[in-house]
Symmetry: C2
Subunit: 554 residues, 2 copies
């Protein structure tokens, strides 16, 4: 039997993982990696930090070289070689050597497409002006650095308030630039629900970043001072010495499409759970493919390194005769900006609504990342979304200065197992004063959610406080109430409820709230057991503020 010939198009996360795993499973295979760019296996996710100078040397971004692939793995990597066409019948790839323009054909037994995704560059007036950058490759980041240095740039406009946009904002501020973020939505971090994005926006503004939300870009110009002008649909003009386009990525499907491979409803390459395309000799992995969201069951595009690597491994397994299957994606992600972390796993509330899911409930908690009596406790603002019918975890989002990824990782793990909020309630997690609480933030979230599902703590919805007939009952102390409260609420401190029960109307629902939700829960318990129709507005004033500020818009 001849050795198997495996050709892999794309040599970064998924492609590189696939290539090395193929070698580990098949010492005799011939493995060729074709990479259009100048580098194999570079640190995509580190690019903003290289632009910012946090990562000082470009060489740190290069995780492996062609020589390493050759010497360690006996894999032939050809950088600056682009796969331009697939002849599926002959099982050949047409390749162009970019340095020379020479074309040649490469035959395969198994072909893996790992072309990634390319930054979206909308065809707007002025889009090709010098000084407008995307950030996806090492050369991209080198060009941005060079421009900043050459122009002695003092200001930047970032178009797009997602992960890359915010990371770039932090890094450009770190280089001393004044930064404005222009985002079409009314919030930063589009994958998150707006009330969780709100603290991120607030934190960035506190560090001097200007936000222009709810306004789409209409075009680009330059002014006499040599600055770039970002013109928006509302008619505003934002000037900066450079512009970063960070409005998302689009799967690279040209090659697959031209070869007649099936694409999915979201525009990515369609694959089965063994990462196989509609051609049984062709696999696809990484940012270019659609996979299944494990929560909503829908096809999804998740341009993240973790799933890309795992998909690469699974494609390699299957190519080498193993029966491995990809489990789908949860979309677990984290982003850090100016010392604040925001992380999520599973479905957001808006994703559930988009998917037509109505069987869900949500709670908010704001516990400290470790016990309050140990110095340095920082709050974590956590939203947990779960099925109303059975308590199954659907998603979680959290924002805070410390140990946010840890709590989302725990919930992500529980979600992976199909866990419920009752499982979170009982989770046995690390505790010492510097590291958490006897009731961890995850336990708290699980308890509040479980209390709601058991009927011990029925939840009201903040979105209805303007229209409800219920009496809004602020159970904090009078000084807290005086310092700010929900319009229309009356104050009855928790500790006085038993004695002053008679003052409360008997014919009206009572919606309680406090600072973060705990006292309102106690109040709700007292009221319910006294025969009143009581509910709790989850997360208290802290959540109210996040919702109010996020719905107020830009």
């Amino acid at each position: 039997m001849n050795p198997k010939r495996i050709v892999i198009v794309g040599g970064v996360a998924g492609g590189a993982s696939c290539a090395t795993r193929c070698r580990r499973l098949d010492e005799t295979a011939q493995i060729v990696v074709l990479e259009r760019g100048p580098y194999v296996s570079f640190a995509n996710c580190g690019l903003p930090y290289y632009v910012g100078g946090v990562i000082e040397e470009e060489s740190k971004l290069l995780l492996a070289s062609e020589a390493l692939f050759r010497d360690r793995f006996n894999i032939e990597v050809r950088t600056r070689h682009e796969a331009v066409a697939i002849d599926r019948e002959k099982r050949e790839v047409e390749v162009r050597e970019l340095a020379t323009g020479r074309s040649y054909r490469e035959s395969y037994d198994a072909l893996v497409l790992a072309p990634g995704a390319s930054p979206v560059r909308p065809p707007l007036p002025g889009i090709d002006l010098p000084g407008i950058f995307v950030l996806r490759s090492v050369p991209d980041s080198r060009e941005i650095r060079a421009w900043i240095e050459a122009k002695q740039a003092k200001s930047a406009v970032i178009v797009g308030g997602g992960f890359i946009g915010l990371e770039m904002a932090e890094n450009l501020v770190g280089r001393g630039l004044s930064v404005k973020v222009v985002e079409m939505l009314q919030q930063v971090m589009p994958p998150l629900d707006p009330e969780i994005a709100q603290p991120v926006q607030e934190h960035m503004e506190s560090r001097g970043v200007t936000m222009a939300l709810g306004d789409g870009v209409a075009g680009f110009e330059t002014n006499e001072a040599g600055q770039l002008i970002v013109k928006t649909q509302s008619g505003a003009a934002h000037a900066g010495d450079l512009v970063i386009l960070a409005i998302g990525v689009r799967p690279e499907t040209a090659l697959a499409k031209a070869a007649g491979l099936q694409l999915g409803e979201r525009g990515g390459i369609r694959v089965d759970d063994q990462m196989r395309t509609s051609d049984r000799s062709i696999w696809a992995v990484g940012d270019a493919v659609e996979t299944q969201d494990v929560v909503t069951g829908q096809a999804t595009l998740i341009p993240l390194a973790g799933p890309a690597n795992r998909q690469g491994r699974i494609a390699a397994d299957v190519i080498c005769g193993r029966d491995s299957h990809f489990r789908g994606v949860q979309g677990t992600a984290v982003c850090g900006v100016f010392g604040l972390a925001v992380a999520s796993t599973g479905a957001s509330e808006k994703a559930l609504r988009r998917a037509g899911v109505t069987d869900y409930e949500k709670i908010y908690v704001h516990p400290a990342h470790h016990v309050g009596y140990y110095p340095g406790a920082k709050p974590i603002h956590l939203k947990l979304i779960f099925r109303k019918s059975d308590g199954r975890i659907l998603g979680a989002q959290a924002v805070g200065e410390a140990d946010v990824a840890r709590r989302i990782d725990v919930i992500a793990t529980a979600l992976q197992f199909g866990g419920t909020v009752y499982d979170l309630e009982e989770a046995e997690l690390c505790y010492a004063p510097q590291f958490g609480g006897a009731k961890d933030p995850v336990n708290y979230a699980g308890m509040v959610a479980s209390n709601a599902l058991r009927g011990d703590n029925p939840l009201a919805d903040w979105s209805e406080i303007g229209s409800t007939e219920a009496l809004l009952l602020d159970v904090r102390d009078p000084d807290e109430f005086a310092a700010g409260h929900v319009p229309g609420a009356v104050n009855l401190p928790l500790n006085q409820i038993r004695a002053r029960m008679g003052e409360l109307p008997k014919d009206r629902a009572l919606w309680t709230y406090c600072g973060v939700g705990q006292r309102a829960y106690y109040a709700t318990r007292i009221l319910l057991q006294s025969g009143r129709d009581a509910k709790n507005l989850p997360g208290g004033m802290r959540t109210y503020r996040q919702i109010a500020l996020s719905s107020r818009g830009a």
Copy 2:
């Protein structure tokens, strides 16, 4: 129907949780908490940090007052009231008011015992000398502080190298004392396996703490300088201006025992999974009870705040007519010393051996807590123990300077669900350069374990390197080999194995190792596919060093 009368003995973690949950579930119950000490609901776990001055004010340790229990929860807390006997037939507790000596009886419908555990004070010569302290209560910590200040203490001997002993060592060093730890075992942190405890010991020594391991205490004396002398079984004498006894705690069972309640094999109060004792009207929770270890199935004493709180809630549920069940304990715990964290969940290898379990395997990994190209990456030394027959997670231990609790929390959560190493391999966790890797340390551990179970990476055992006939193959580069290697090993760098295969003996097993295990895995794959009998020594030189240093002893 008369209101239910609930009496709770002990007002700290489990007792306080039980009392307040009883109130939330039953507004009409009469709830009385009897607490022998002066405080209810104090921060036990914060005591070392109050001694060390990290927590500056004693008031921070007092999480709730008698007034708060009364005003918020309508619960009567009587501090300095000791339950001295139980009349089970009459359902009455005999109580002594410590301030006056007065005795009285308190009747109950439900009695909850949450007396906690008391520090072990072995009956050794000199044990009652002034200056020998335990640390379990706010007055204990106050006395230690007063002694240090009054004597202007410069040195301390800590007897016991467990959690409290090490936390005290850090805090006393923080106050400028020179500290010696005397521990009977050959390792610190007795619940952990020695090779995971070794980096903790090394780190503490690097901060100036002296260790006297493998030596039991024989007695105490004083010298002319007014110092205390800790005399050991080996004949050594360790002098210090004070002595902290931190050799563990013993469940407080006197009251239960005198009342004829059944005790368990480990000496704790026996309870069912509803926290009920052998008397159907009496519950027990917290450090005084035995619960079931979910991994070994054995009865265990776990004096930890998290389980205590959850047990308190469950007892309250059952008392109030709900069908709640305690799931048992995993023993998830973390300890921080001088910026190093060490954490564990599930069974240690020695616990499995003690329990007679042989169906297990273990791996070691040493990944950085986040990607290496982002500044500040710190290694995590992680041991994962799993069932050989089906990959089920049995336990994990980790030590490192950053994000250790996070990884153990993830594995603890997977363990809670009966997860396997294959689940860890596929876990979708938070990743951004500051927060992890595209392959998280947990993924790495899962992959290495899965590779072993699939036969892709058969594991050799470090404990057999002295006796094996196998050739030890160091696949690192020559300069690494020259800087130190396993005695008897020969060097063949990974990248040369394919070319120099012929130099390797064909009739001999090959045990590969490298720095941390990755290159040896690649080498093992090449060798296995070339028909050789190859295994990998897991965790490489780093693990070898931990094992060698920990088995060398004090």
